[in-house]
Symmetry: C2
Subunit: 581 residues, 2 copies
Amino acid sequence: MQRLGQYLPILDWAQSYGRATLTNDMVAAVIVTIMLIPQSLAYAMIAGLPPEVGLYASILPLVAYAIFGTSRTLAVGPVAVVSLMTATAVGNIAAEGSADYLAAAMLLAFLSGAMLLAMGFMRLGFIANFLSHPVISGFITASGLLIAASQLKHVLGVDADGHTLPEILSDIAENIGQTNMPTLIIGVAVVAFLYFTRLRLKSLLLGLGLSSRPADIITKAGPVLAIAATILATEIFKLGEAGVKLVGDIPAGLPVPALPSFDIELVMQLAGPAFLISIIGFVESVSVAQTLASRRRQRIDPDQELIGLGASNIASSLSSGYPVTGGFARSVVNFDAGAETPAAGAYTAIGIALATMFLTPLLAALPRATLAATIIVAVLSLVDLGAVMRVWRYSKADFIAMAATILGTLFLGVEIGIMLGVGLSILLHLYRTSKPHMAVVGQVPGTEHFRNVERHDVRIFPHILSLRVDESLYFANSRYLEDRVAALVAEKPALKHVILQCSAVNEIDASALESLEEINHRLSDAGICLHLSEVKGPVMDRLKRSSLLEDLTGEVFLSQHEAEQNIADRLALKETFTAAK
Amino acid sequence: MQRLGQYLPILDWAQSYGRATLTNDMVAAVIVTIMLIPQSLAYAMIAGLPPEVGLYASILPLVAYAIFGTSRTLAVGPVAVVSLMTATAVGNIAAEGSADYLAAAMLLAFLSGAMLLAMGFMRLGFIANFLSHPVISGFITASGLLIAASQLKHVLGVDADGHTLPEILSDIAENIGQTNMPTLIIGVAVVAFLYFTRLRLKSLLLGLGLSSRPADIITKAGPVLAIAATILATEIFKLGEAGVKLVGDIPAGLPVPALPSFDIELVMQLAGPAFLISIIGFVESVSVAQTLASRRRQRIDPDQELIGLGASNIASSLSSGYPVTGGFARSVVNFDAGAETPAAGAYTAIGIALATMFLTPLLAALPRATLAATIIVAVLSLVDLGAVMRVWRYSKADFIAMAATILGTLFLGVEIGIMLGVGLSILLHLYRTSKPHMAVVGQVPGTEHFRNVERHDVRIFPHILSLRVDESLYFANSRYLEDRVAALVAEKPALKHVILQCSAVNEIDASALESLEEINHRLSDAGICLHLSEVKGPVMDRLKRSSLLEDLTGEVFLSQHEAEQNIADRLALKETFTAAK
């Protein structure tokens, strides 16, 4: 039962579900539903899919997450970045608008769901840690720019294609002569209106005496107002006949549940992109969920989140949808509107299902330019150039990984961009640790503390070299340690004892063990004893399973202070002895 | 001039070249030449190339290394592992024995040389550090087994193909019925003879009153004796007519210098294997060179070694050769025979050139089984199962990488094997550091030293949590730190101060900085101050470029002792104050 509860968080909160919670969840669901309808249509457009697919992907996945997810307030569904990645992955395989394109998108969702589930059961949530913060931040910024560029064509009413910035822009430049004026006017007007609602409307409404929460909700409803207004304008001015591209007839009714077709070749082609989508979607979703959970002192379980998102994607795939994940904007709206349990998500699903059945005829006259304008405004808020500057100031290595991610994503595509960033951040990390900081240390007078001789006034002995290694010792830096010790020893002919202070050594792997044995052996040839100090418990436990401690010419001391004291005493004793002889 | 000297180590030693050195180098050269002739023929056979190509690859490369290399005693030429990798790389592209096969091998040497040179000029020698010791050791063991298996066919006189253990063994099993008896007798006899010379001959000779050095040299000449004997046997018993496969006519004379043909598609196909060959060859060569240099207290420069080996491979390519590197056995022989400068290598080159011109007719009657037997005995000594056991005992993670390398190499091929090992060792390293060891610490009574509360009897304060993080903080573990601090704080309701002891933190990257800011923020919400202690110089310098130090609710202390002392004093003061009120 406890084990079942681990995989079914719904058992946790459903027992104590009361009337007050029901009301709060219902209110939140209504607000999120209103927000989700235009968003779902728009994101389907980013993915190159028919608009109804966006709605389908906002029904069953929410129910699945309500059952398996651990966040109380996360709202799952299509999101911008994953939609872009879907367009890239599927666009390489089938022509936009074809049945194959949709089938590939469904298969992609299924694969992604299956991978997330597998990672969840194997508790592999830590894989997400390999995406460094600058890489994620850079990837989201670049994706925002790329999506905005890809939507420009809808605002201009021209044809354009391609999955990288140069491709998109050159296509648009080629066709700019065919710009449709009414379309452009709608697009620009909606962008202007949305920026107005975002930046000014709330303070205006507050000035008119409205209280904060309704003002907030009206502000968030900006896209819905824009949609209603442009549908009206289209009907009144017959804009469809003026060349304005419309959403057109959307099949009313719910999707028929069906398995995607498993073509083995297609599975092989989509496996890589599905993996990237899983990881990116997971990271995005978990960081949203963690942020919201910490505000109410709740916790989420990243490994169970993998299962929740996996179930959501499988559900999406089975209902003609495409890859989904937890979205930032809608989750914040859900949270702010007072949602208390995942049941709010299930109610939202009912709302979207009703809309899919009954509201779609109204949307036929919606100009695509309106949707494109809402997308552009939404995704440009993802672009965070301030973060780029902060990373530049703090760490050049992180900046390189971030810049590679951004440029790679914009110019080579989303998949290459993210892989470039991850690969580079791992290589740079290895490179940085391959030449670790090492400090010759001495005693701070009057204390038992040892610090770098170059930064502090410390006491040192001529016959003793104390070297603090500021890094775990492992394959990437073990040869460097050999070189460094050899060089330091060569500088000091009077040397009799070398003490390696291991306070910063958290691991000694098999390669480093070989190197230490080599160093011990070489120092011994030169008549120098090698000692270790402040070796950590776990490191010491492991060294006991090797022959280093037996072969060591010196000793292992609990503290650096004890080591120097002991050896200094012994040297003094020896000198006395020599003098007496 | 100094800059020129950096790239031309020959300028270093050529000035002081005297008669005694000349004699020593000449003697060593004669011995190495005798050893190299059969070895070169044999290694060419591993690579699937005509025997003379092995000789060609042992002439100009030695001259190039003598000019550009930094090791005084390294002997460059064809080696077993690189020959195997060549066979795999080229075998995927052309049929063995075809002109395309040879052309591809020459191009491979050129590409490998160009890559080594480029890495040398960019001083990228550290790339070799990414090969952990267990991965290299596992790779060499597996290559030894694979080469031995691939030579079985020559000992049996059957046809067999394939680049993985199952392929080779199933081919041999299929054709075992065609075994040629005279061939098998030669093969087994030579293997037995070589093991006898290796294990018994030296002590026998010493027993007969011979001194150590000539005994050693006679022992090392075992393969030459075996070759002479089997050539004689072939001539006497007309073994060629009995179905024993012979080396056959070798074109006498030196190779005509020529550029390899640069087909762009071929270059693309060979670039990956060339890179792997470069790195493996470099690592093998540098470790041999370093071992020998340290015996005579000399030093080698790994970055210049890249240039030396790069020049050697280009030279090999231009003279109809294939990829070369510094070999262990021949370098040791060169060293033991008394070589003092790289000139010995140049003299060896002259020796091989003379042999190529005048001795090759004698080799036509050499049975291939003899060469195969010498290879089998040589490569089986590379198999080091003891190392596998030692790594198993010391570190399971290293063992996993090692086992993956061995199994991957044997069953999937050399290229996949080595990449699997490197990839896995990097991932396992990241995984190990992603959940770093953290210890709650307290003061060892009577000292200023702080140790793990679970391992030592230490003094702790109820209002203060001192946490030592035993790892650099970076993207792979920054989220784990957030989780861990949150969990520890939740356990202790009385807590007012958290001190992060950073003595083991050698780096805080941009991701970890975000996490620290988040931790500081969350603790502040809970009324807890965050302090740092023992922050290292370089880490502190970087933190000053961020806003963390301004936002920090607590202070940064020089030592953990100072931090606890200070905070404990302050808490006492506060209590007095509260009491007085």
